[in-house]
């Protein structure tokens, strides 16, 4: 409590007040019968999302499912990559997907056509998926029948980076048609990423794109980032990525 007026000022501000420092606390208590109190909290604003994310991770692990969050700008080829991964995996891996989009279930329809379980999350105006949306989607999927679950985030290279979804791996995709300068320009998505994959590499002969530049810049953001390059049009090019997911699942279980 503040010694001057008993207003419940915390310790540090109280000391400042005693020493005569301006602490921004005035003693106008907002009229009769009301007091002003400054409280220091240091409360983590992402806490509830982080709690749900941890629960998602554990829940998936109990079902022996490795979950992979895919982040990229719109049109980098997330869905096309998933289509190729599903085809290449064939019967070796049981794959499911959660498809996040602002509107329409077009991506979900594309993947369902391959015969895998897909749940579409339509976020409305929200620019990212969060752990609670993924949690709800998990209830709609037959987790016991899956080895690998892809969570295709909303196409956006900024906002999704802030939200832990409870996946075991988070990856950023960048297509060669987007330009080789994008990694340093959009660094937030890389903050919790474990892998980075260049896509549409079949188009490299047609665009001015230095493949080393984004990889170099990504490694500066996160030194242990795993790097991949593939084209959804060339099935053999996604094999290393698939191998990486399988290895991660083996290590996790």
């Amino acid at each position: 409590m503040c010694e001057t007026c008993g207003c419940g000022l915390p310790d540090e501000a109280k000391r400042e007040a005693r020493e005569g420092t301006d602490n921004g606390h005035d003693h106008d208590h907002g009229g009769p019968g009301v007091r002003r109190e400054e409280v220091r909290l240091y409360r983590n604003l992402m806490e509830s999302n982080e709690r749900t994310a941890r629960a998602n991770r554990e829940h998936l692990l109990e079902h022996r499912v490795l979950a992979v969050n895919l982040m990229s700008g719109p049109g980098a080829g997330k869905t096309a990559l998933l289509e190729t991964l599903v085809r290449v995996a064939g019967h070796r891996l049981r794959i499911g997907a959660i498809e996040g989009d602002l509107a329409t279930d077009r991506d979900a329809v594309r993947l369902r056509a391959l015969g895998i379980p897909v749940h579409a999350v339509t976020t409305g105006s929200t620019c990212h998926l969060d752990a609670a949306m993924v949690h709800e989607a998990l209830h709609a999927l037959p987790l016991g029948d899956l080895d690998l679950l892809f969570v295709e985030n909303v196409g956006n290279l900024v906002c999704p980076g802030l939200y832990d979804l409870g996946c075991h791996l988070n990856g950023v995709l960048l297509s060669v048609t987007e330009g080789d300068d994008k990694v340093a320009k959009y660094p937030v998505a890389f903050r919790n990423a474990q892998f980075f994959c260049l896509t549409k590499t079949d188009l490299l002969p047609h665009v001015a794109f230095d493949v080393d530049r984004p990889r170099r810049e990504a490694r500066l953001l996160k030194g242990d980032l795993r790097l991949f390059a593939c084209s959804a049009k060339e099935p053999q090019s996604v094999a290393p990525l698939l191998e990486y997911f399988q290895e991660a699942r083996r290590l996790l279980l």
Binding site: R36, V39, L162, P187, R191, G223
Partner: protein
Amino acid sequence: MHEWSLATGVVKAAEEEARRRGAVKVLSVVVAAGFRTGVVPELLERAFEAARVGTLLEGAALRVEVEPLRLHCLSCGGETERETYRLVCPRCGGGEVEVRSGDDLVLKSLELEIPEG
């Protein structure tokens, strides 16, 4: 707009803390945003103006303080503070670093109005 989600999160957390203390009004809010969260103070403040409507925070001022990324380097032992996204020691270039702060979004303080007695 994730600033909108964040702003509603700020309002929800602040209202919870205010109610717990018997406050009838929140006069001001301070949020500390780590540089690496990519939060833009102006955007969050603008979103907050809409998110606070009809809550205990109606009329409350929000201040967003951006905190630099503080790294501890496991190679050279250096403690550095920079406004950067890079998880690399700026002194020795080492990639094995621990994030000490600058990666979080935190409700730092509130100024409340509480009825006496």
